[in-house]
Every structure is written in C-alpha cells, then in structure tokens.
Symmetry: C2
Subunit: 470 residues, 2 copies
C-alpha cells in the first residue's frame, strides 16, 4: 500500500549525495580504539579519531544489512518482524523521572521499572517490553543493566532491549539471554536483543555506545543506530541539512556494524527534531519532528533498511490535550510514512525527561488506534455488501442485520480508555478527564496482571548470574 511521502525521488538522491560528501570530506569521529582498528583494517582512511568513509565503502556495506529480520522472544508467539510492512511499538525509553497523578514527579525507581514492565507486558499494543523503561535511580549504576533486563524477562515474555552502556554491560545481557534460551541458542541465527545505539550529534560516536554496538554486532544481535540531530543546534536549521547530518551518522554506524559482522541486523534510526530557539532546548512535539520522521522512512526505504522513528512523544508536563495531539501526530506519522520500529510509543512527557503512568495508558490507546488504521479493511464481495444494502434500501437501517452482527466486532476498534458515552452519563460518572480515567486504569492493570511463567531453573540461573555482578 502506498505510503505518505514528503520527499521526491531526486530529493532523496540529493540528500544521499550530500551525505556521501560529508562522509568522504568531513568524516565522523569514532572515539573508541577498537572501532578505529576495524576501519583501518578495512582500508578506511583514519586520521586520529576521524574516519573518512568512501562512497564505495558505505554503499557496499549497507547492502549487506538485511532488509528485514525477526527478533526472537522467550514466548515464540511474541516474536516480532522488523522491516517490510511491520510496525513495532516499544514504550518510552531512558527517562530519569517518573510521575503519576497521586505522587507527582519524582526520580524513577526499580519498583517503577517493574510496574512499567508489567503495564507493557499486559498491553496488547506494545510489541517489546521495553529497554530503559525508567532509570532505576535507587540501584547502583553498575547493576542497573542486569536488574532492568531481569525485570523485562520476569514480568513479560515479549522481546526487550539490551543495554548500550559499553561492551561489558552488553556481554552481561547476551549472557542473560543465553540463560533464558539455554545452551542450544544460536544468537546469530536467532537474534533476541535489539539495542539503541545513539550517535552524539554532530558526527560523533562515543566509547560507551561503540563498545555496545561492537559487542552486539559480534554476536549477531540487532542494533538501532540512531541520530537525534537537533535542527538549529546540533544540526543546520534547515530540515534538509539536519537530515544530511543524521544520514551521515546513521550510515557510518551501519557501516561499522557490517564491517564487524556481515549481515548484522540493523535499523536506520531517526530521533531528529528541532530546537526551541528561545531556550536552545530540544522540542519533540514539533510538526518538524513528524516531517523528519516521514523523510527518514523514505531514506531508509531507499537503502532497503528497516526504519525507526516517531513515538507517542510530547513536550507537555501533564497528560492534557497537548499530550494527546503531539503524541498522536508523532505516532500516526509512523504508520502513514512506513516506519517499522517505534521507540517511545507510550508514556513520554516533558521532552523525554519524564515518563507518566497516566500517559502510558493514554498512549497505549493511541497505539491501538494507529494499529487499527494500519490494519485497514477488506474489500471483497462480502464486505462490499450489495445484498444487505439492497435488502435495507433507502431509509432503512442495518442495526438488526445478520451482516452487521457478523462483521462489527472484527471491523470496529474497541477503545480501552476513550469516552463515547452521552454528556449526561459522563457527568454522572464524575466528569472525569482522560488522565483521571487512566489513573484508575493503570492501577487496575497492575493489580490484575499475572506475569507469564518463567521456568524456575532459568529464574535461578539468572539470579545466580546477577548475584555475581557487583
């Protein structure tokens, strides 16, 4: 089905050409010795930490990345396809703060992390449990990665995201997956982890991210190589120019991943947006963010790569109307433009700083609506319904027709949160706003949720392994 496009073919090519010039003539800094060694060994020109990639090298390497791949969950029914026509949702990632209507804004804890993992596990629309669902600030940094991975494994049987805190943390998470899948697991054949690798804009990758990228690439795990170019601050104020910067960083990262292991599953990632020029801060509820997402989907298709972009993301401080319209804009654009992987699909407010329990529930409804749109509808003799239209005729109605009973449940999305009652019923029920309904709902989900069983010997092995981490 035809997707929404914001770039013409020749404009895509212009962005590609300029990107090749940036990679060849300006270069990208890789601040990690082992990565520089990989490039040097492949005959790439390296000056200090600056890597100059030729067009030939980049074009050859990105061709080696798969156009789509499957990520394997501990419950095979929860495996996800990334690429092609798939649209995969994952909740908010990386917020240091958390908020809810009862307790207000505060630092996230491991208990909050568990709660979010449960909400994600219970959701019919979140495809991965998550990554850093919130920073567990009450846990020493050296142990956070294993505590988070364990929470994702224990509270849900969906795939989850690995740690990007350097090579050692990545090794720990791959080890934990081998405990989950057992000794027969072939990580290259059955990648189970998807990890977010961010560049530092403009045109840098740091040691921590590169350590993780290299470790995952070696074991065949998937990486989302993402640029968050802030147009006006870390990129040109023109969206075309910021796309060039983003494109250079992402392609450089993908080139490295392929040089490490040909066929490493990668996702072309965009989190680029604009700068609020009055304050110099990142703005993610901006319409320019949606344009960059749609353009990124086209760039990724041009390279035959799966694409990450968008999210139910907003700059608001509370889950109000602005939260609704910014989040729907940035999530609906993913479906219409053909994005495959969406990080931050639930909970984000305050430009990524905070994750909100209530907004998680609101965004999960948005995710359901966008997936309903994605499903579209069938056109065939049965659904075209000539016979029932003839039977009903002008002025009749379809409410009591067999055709209606047979089809409406499959055709109509059933909202979990949205109010569709009369005004009078709404008043009788306390004139509640969506965020108040959501407040009740997340508590209900948490109290009713039964995490899927984790085999006792796996649980024991994981705990033993975690006990060895200082």
């Amino acid at each position: 089905m035809q997707k929404y496009e914001v770039l013409k073919k020749d404009q895509i090519e212009q962005i590609h050409e300029t990107t090749m010039n940036v990679l060849e003539k300006i270069g990208v800094e890789f601040r990690y010795g082992p990565a520089l060694d990989v490039f040097a060994k492949a005959g790439v020109k390296v000056e200090g930490q600056r890597v100059f990639l030729s067009r030939k090298m980049v074009e050859e390497q990105i061709k080696k990345a798969p156009g789509q791949f499957t990520l394997y969950a501990r419950n095979p029914e929860k495996n996800v396809l990334l690429g092609g026509d798939s649209l995969v949702f994952t909740p908010g990632y990386g917020s240091p703060f958390i908020t809810d209507l009862d307790r207000g804004k505060r630092q996230g804890t491991l208990e909050d992390f568990h709660n979010l993992a449960k909400l994600s596990g219970a959701s019919p629309y979140q495809d991965l449990t998550g990554g850093i669902l919130v920073e567990p600030n009450d846990i020493p940094t050296g142990r956070r990665h294993v505590e988070m991975a364990y929470s994702c494994i224990k509270n849900s049987d969906k795939c989850f995201m690995g740690s990007s805190y350097g090579d050692k943390c990545a090794q720990d998470i791959v080890k934990m997956m081998s405990l989950v899948f057992g000794p027969e697991w072939n990580p290259v054949q059955k990648p189970a982890l998807l990890t977010l690798i961010n560049s530092i804009t403009p045109l840098i990758f740091d040691e921590r991210m590169l350590g993780a990228l290299m470790e995952y690439a070696k074991t065949g795990q998937a990486v989302v190589i993402t640029s968050l170019t802030m147009a006006g601050a870390t990129g040109p104020a023109t969206l075309a120019g910021s796309l060039v910067c983003q494109n250079a960083e992402v392609l450089a990262g993908i080139t490295l991943a392929q040089l490490i292991r040909e066929g490493t599953p990668v996702i072309y990632g965009s989190a680029s947006s604009i700068t609020e020029m009055s304050t110099g801060s990142l703005t993610i509820g901006a319409p320019e963010m949606s344009l960059l997402t749609a353009a990124s989907a086209q760039m990724a298709r041009y390279y035959h790569l799966p694409c990450r972009g968008g999210g139910a993301i907003s700059d608001v401080k509370t889950a109000d109307a602005q939260a609704g319209y910014e989040s729907m804009m940035n999530l609906l654009i993913t479906e219409v433009s053909g994005i495959n992987f969406v990080l931050h699909a639930a909970g984000i407010i305050e430009s990524y700083n905070t994750i909100s329990y209530e907004k998680f529930i609101i965004d999960d409804e948005i995710c359901g609506m966008v997936k309903r749109i994605k499903k579209s509808f069938d056109v065939n003799q049965e659904t075209l319904a000539f016979d029932v239209i003839k039977e009903v005729g002008p002025g009749g109605h379809f409410l009591d027709k067999e055709h209606t009973f047979h089809h409406f449940r499959g055709e109509f999305y059933r909202p979990a949160l949205s109010n569709r009652t009369t005004y009078e019923m709404w008043k009788e029920n306390g004139s509640r706003q969506a965020m108040e309904v959501a407040n009740k709902k997340w508590k209900e989900i948490l109290s009713n949720y039964q995490p899927p069983e984790l085999p006792a010997q796996v649980d024991k092995a994981l705990q033993k392994f975690m006990g060895e981490i200082k």
Copy 2:
C-alpha cells in the same frame, strides 16, 4: 507528492462497480418534486421518489464537474482554491450547544456566533469563516440564516458557507452576496458561497437539502455533497460496504448538480464513521473514521473531484487528552491522504453536539501544525547545508551560525498554545493545562480583534435586506 493510500487501484474499482449497481438497481430517493422533474427530463428512470441512475448517466455527469475551483472572498487575498493540492480549513459546523470553562455547557446564542466568527476571522489557519458556527438558538429559525451570514460578513473578510435550509434561504444568502460584491458580480464566474448538502443515509435526499442544492447550482455556487454513513446503523458494518453507500449518495447528488447546471462546482464529501454498537450512537473519534476519510480522498481522486473529509473532531465532553488525540488523528489524516476541504477543523466536542471555546483554540494549534507538515521543506544546495556542516564539524554546534539565523524562522512552526518551557517554569506559571491556557487565549483574541472594515453602504444594504426578512 505521494499521498497515503488505504485502497489499491482494483479495490477502488470494486467500490465503484458496486456503487454503479446500487445506483442502477436499488436507486436513491429524492424527496423533492423539482429534483425528480430534472431527472425525468434528462431521461432518468424515476419510480415515485426513487431515482435509478444508469452508469452512463453518472459517469458522464460527474465528468462535467470541475476538478478544482476558486471561491471568492470579499477580500481577494482570502480567496481559496478548492481541489488539486489545496487543504482548506473551516471551523466546527452545526452544534446546538456551546461550552467554555467559565460558564459550562449551554445553548448557543447569536453572541456566541459572533464570537466564533471573530475567532475564525482572527485565525491564521482557518481559511473560511465558517457556516453554522453554532446554532443561534435565541434567534427565530426564519431569521437565523441571514443573521449568521451577516455575522460572517461583518466579522471577517474570508469566504463563508451558505444556508442549506431549502430554496428560499439559499436565495436570501445569494442575494446578500450580491449586495456585498455589488451589481457587477457574476455569481457563475466568481462563486463565493460553499454550502453543505447532506444526504439522509441510507440513500435519501430530502426537500430542504435539495431545495438549497438546486438553488445554489442554478447560480453556480459551490456545494459540498456529503454522506455521513454510520457503519453498523445507516450503512453496513463493513467499511467497504459503507463506502459504497456513501459513494452512491454523493455521486447521485453530484449528478443532479451537473444536470441542473453543467460545471457546477462540487466537492465530494465524506463524514462517514462508525456506530458505537453498545449505544447505537455516532462515534467520530474512531480510527475507522480516519480510514474512511483516507479512502474517500482516493475515491474523489478517482473521479477527479475535490474532496471533503475529516476534521478536528472528537467524542469527548471536555478538552482533555482524548480531545487532543482524536482531533489530531482526524485532522492529520486529511493532509496525508490528500483531502482538500475540512469542515469541523476547530471546536467540535461531544460528537458534533457542542462547540467549545477552549477546544477552538486548541484545534487551531492543531490546524497550524498540520499546515506546517503540509508545507514540507525545501531540498536544495542552500538547505542541504554542506558548507556549514563542514565549518561546524564533528562536535561543534550551529547555534551561532549565519545559516541558522537565516533559516530557523522560516523552517520552524511557532506554536501559539503548546507549552515548551521547562517543568520548573510551567509550575511557576501555575501548572496550567492546555485548556486553561486556551481559556485565557480566546478572551485575549476577542478583546484585541478588529474586524476588517465593511463598506458602510454595503453594511446598510445588508441591514435593510435583513430588515425585510420576518
């Protein structure tokens, strides 16, 4: 630029074929003698009030409708193009009730109408002032159409929508336009009115709407022929089946308009959505509404006609997060799918029953964001920005670059309502929700707004004419 599509070409053709069968074999009721006479005179089979249109007749007549046309405003700078790549916004239409945070829900009055006409006139994103901005319940029904038209003319210099309350009201509004434009106005050469003509689903047009349609068609004014098929109630529960019903009604109405006067400017209108089956009531915040809008855009393109669909519409009772996400979904889909004319682009809550002052302001922001997305961005040597990227290099920043100063204002949408401050600033400013900010904003706009001047002799002539209406 490529638009988002939900139907393949052969599916469009299947809907068209089934529609032709409905028109030929089931027929459409036209409950108005003069309309039946037009069909009979053209050799169409008429049985009682049932009109059976042949494929040949329909296909011939719809070809006579223009693919795009200009609507003329009293201020030529406010003329609007309908069709092609245009996206034209008009505020909410037809609500009997109005609400605001201070006074709550109540019946609309003429004073409310004036206020909404001013808010629309002041908006940079509403292209038409409106039609029935709210029902002025304090005015006798026989005078409402002229009072509303006068308010639109007096409070704004944009185009507005005519009355669809039968032939006599339509004549009055055309007469008022001739007083505005003066005796040199050629209504057929310079159509100034756009009027909403609704079918009664399934498959009926009533006397009131047909009287108006015929009157406007005779004078060359534009009509939006719209079906609001409720899948599951007044149409099949399958979206494909409801599209067939909608398509049959709209094409039948357009055929009549062309038989009356070849070349009558028409818009293919869809307001179709689904039924909430637990209550039997209309639901407009449903994702299926967005699918029907996108599909309608494709059907209209197939017929080379301008298309109406979508809106900033919601089932909510207050301007909360649900208002935001439903309204953005239904408005963003218009841009991505290629809709040309959007009724209900600001203010609607409660499934059309109520228009909200605060939501008008919130939706106007949504309109601005969607128009920013529509504008897209330029790709050329200047915007690709290779030189400034080279100058900045890895790890630098663009904040103080001439290229940034030169471009950011043109590239970045400036929000009128959305909060982009820090959390601390938001708290200091009273932790206000979007609806509270909007409450302050609409009052500011109303107290600052200066309606564009209306020549005294035109005003006098209009008042004299209105004085003669009982």
